[in-house]
């Protein structure tokens, strides 16, 4: 009896190729996952939410939505969006070139993509500020043209583009590598123009990965602080939301800081949710 059921289950396993329990210890792994997530992710979020709940709502609302806070969100969101768009476009191009073409120095370039990951963001901010300041390597040529890359909002976008670049490239690369060039050849054989091949064959396959890269670099930019304090020059006109949090803390205005932090948390949460839904929507196009 027991043997029969074992054989049956084995047979079922072979048939479906995805048995309900491929690895042993489901409960243990689930338990560990939840425990780990609770400590690392949920606990800080819950602590922030709890702290906010203890404060009077009207005051929290006022502090989260006053003119200064709104200006900070606008800059944070606007600059992050701009940086993520730039990265989605040029990051995709970079990934395409790195995967599809062979040229000397390719591996070195490929390694350089990870540089913004490894570099401490404060160093990145300092370096960029030096580079674009009116005496810097690039700044001395750009400033006379009216392009000020340091201590301006443009500087904020530049820094956010820098820190977000790897996300765009690295999410797209594996998808590009697994893309079968045979499909493109088939499209060409069937008489599709280059544009048609791109629009109907390549783009739909890459879209989910590009969207993920866009979302990741957007989320990364929203939370960036270290590089911005240097390149923004700490001026009121370049105040991003994380800077506002720090400034409020410096005034011992803990309530005000929590209010902004809460709004940022809701932004990030909403962003990730939208991203997941978009991916689900984009995945439909991949079905044959």
């Amino acid at each position: 009896m027991r043997e029969a059921s074992l054989t049956r289950s084995r047979a079922a396993g072979v048939e479906s190729a995805a048995p309900s329990n491929p690895l042993p210890g489901f409960r243990l792994t689930l338990g560990f996952t939840i425990f780990y997530l609770t400590i690392v992710v949920l606990a800080p979020i819950a602590a922030l939410a709890l702290k906010a709940l203890r404060l009077p709502w009207s005051q929290l609302w006022e502090l989260a939505t006053n003119q200064r806070a709104l200006a900070a969100y606008a800059l944070s969101l606007g600059a992050s969006l701009a940086a993520a768009l730039v990265n989605a476009l040029f990051g995709s191009l970079l990934a395409w070139v790195l995967v599809r073409y062979r040229f000397p120095g390719r591996r070195l370039l490929d390694g350089l993509i990870d540089f913004p990951f490894a570099l401490p963001t404060a160093v990145a901010g300092l370096t960029l500020a030096d580079l674009f300041s009116s005496h810097g390597w690039l700044g001395q040529f750009l400033t006379p043209l009216g392009i000020k890359g340091a201590y301006t909002r443009l500087g904020v976008v530049i820094a956010l583009t820098f820190v977000g670049l790897p996300f765009s490239v690295r999410t797209l690369q594996p998808v590009l590598e697994s893309l079968d060039t045979g499909v493109e050849e088939a499209a060409a054989c069937l008489g599709a123009s280059r544009f048609r091949t791109f629009a109907s064959v390549i783009a739909p396959t890459l879209l989910p990965a590009i969207l993920t890269g866009f979302g990741l670099s957007f989320a990364r930019a929203l939370g960036e602080y270290g590089s911005i304090v240097f390149i923004s020059g700490n001026l009121p006109k370049t105040e991003i939301a994380p800077t506002l949090i720090v400034m409020r803390l410096d005034q011992y205005d803990y309530t005000g800081a929590i209010a902004v932090a809460l709004v940022l948390m809701i932004f990030s949460f909403g962003l990730l949710l939208t991203l997941n839904m978009l991916q689900g929507w984009a995945a439909k196009f991949q079905e044959p």
Binding site: D130, H135, G136, K237, M247, D250, Q251
Partner: protein, 335 residues
């Protein structure tokens, strides 16, 4: 460091200090930005004196940073035995937000707990292209000024108050005129660093700005470290008497069993030896005898106090620096 202190305090509680640390006492001084050089010398001098007096080895750690940030760290649990910050408001915060010391902390040591004072001066480039003598020269169109952000830096708050106070006095107490002056002044500042040290780097290394507004001692440090040939210190006729106070953090010192040595450390700053070190690092000594000896190093100028012009830190903070205050209003006009 903190962990070490904790381990040490446990050892003391067990009455086994001698066995555990070999008679080593450690002390943490949390200080503001431009005091690194000064306190590293004070620490060496005091450790030596303490060793001679008691036979104990004394290790003094120092932490530097923006004054408000440092105070916040101490409130959050960075267990400083003593704090030596840029302004009294930040030590008041230790009482208000953490109950770490009593409200009357400033009465516990002479001269409102300020063993040395300082003031705000200008630093210009030696090339002589820009001539600056007084505060109103800083608002001339086309001049670019570097100063840290008053929201994050204690020194920057003294700078702002010095500019505002001088304008108030020049305009016979007309607050609207003083406000216009600081508005124009901050329009001429293209970059505001987080702390005083950051502004020095911006001015000297990145070569941004024609004038740096700075602590007197920091300006002299630039002259000595980076070279006298490149910069000039300009003393405006009138400035503010900046009073950076010191205090024992009772709660942590008690827990570490370091109350006596912490107080002795701060009192050392008031002794002739401590005052000499202060003068050497261009802090204005509190002791008359030492001040007279170094009179040549501190050119005479009219110094007004915060109390005289702004009442108290609480009022100054509320009117000028808190969210929606005058600094925010003048900044908003340039958005």
């Amino acid at each position: 460091m903190t962990r070490f202190c904790r381990i040490l305090s446990v050892c003391l509680a067990l009455g086994a200090a001698a066995h555990c640390a070999g008679g080593t006492i450690s002390l943490l001084n949390v200080s503001y930005d431009p005091t690194r050089e000064f306190y590293s010398e004070v620490n060496a001098a005091f450790s030596k004196e303490w060793k001679a007096r008691t036979g104990d080895d004394l290790k003094i750690g120092i932490s530097n940073g923006g004054s408000a940030k440092q105070a916040r760290d101490v409130i959050a649990g960075s267990e400083a035995d003593v704090v030596t910050l840029a302004l009294a408001w930040d030590i008041d915060a230790l009482h208000e937000h953490g109950q770490l010391l009593p409200a009357d902390w400033q009465q516990r040591l002479p001269n409102n707990s300020c063993p040395y004072t300082s003031t705000i001066v200008f630093l210009t480039r030696h090339d002589g292209k820009i001539k600056v003598k007084d505060w109103e020269d800083l608002i001339r169109p086309g001049i670019s000024v570097v100063a840290p952000n008053p929201k994050t830096s204690g020194g920057a708050r003294w700078i702002y108050l010095a500019a505002y106070g001088d304008a108030l006095k020049k305009n016979h107490g007309d607050a609207a005129a003083a406000r216009r002056f600081v508005e124009q002044l901050y329009h001429n500042i293209p970059v505001m660093d987080e702390g005083a040290r950051g502004s020095v780097t911006t001015f000297t290394q990145r070569e941004i700005g024609d004038v740096l507004i700075s602590w007197e001692n920091e300006a002299w440090l630039v002259m000595e470290k980076i070279g006298r040939g490149r910069f000039d210190i300009i003393y405006p006729p009138r400035s503010i008497l900046a009073e950076p106070p010191v205090a024992v953090v009772d709660k942590y010192a008690k827990a570490h069993g370091t109350e006596a040595v912490a107080e002795a450390y701060l009192r050392f700053l008031y002794t002739p030896a401590g005052q000499e070190l202060a003068a050497k690092h261009h802090f204005r000594p509190e002791l008359d005898a030492v001040a007279r000896q170094h009179a040549a190093d501190f050119p005479p100028m009219e110094l007004f106090t915060l109390r005289e012009v702004f009442g108290s830190w609480k009022e100054a903070q509320k009117i000028h620096f808190d969210e929606g205050g005058i600094f925010d209003q003048i900044s908003r006009s340039r958005r």
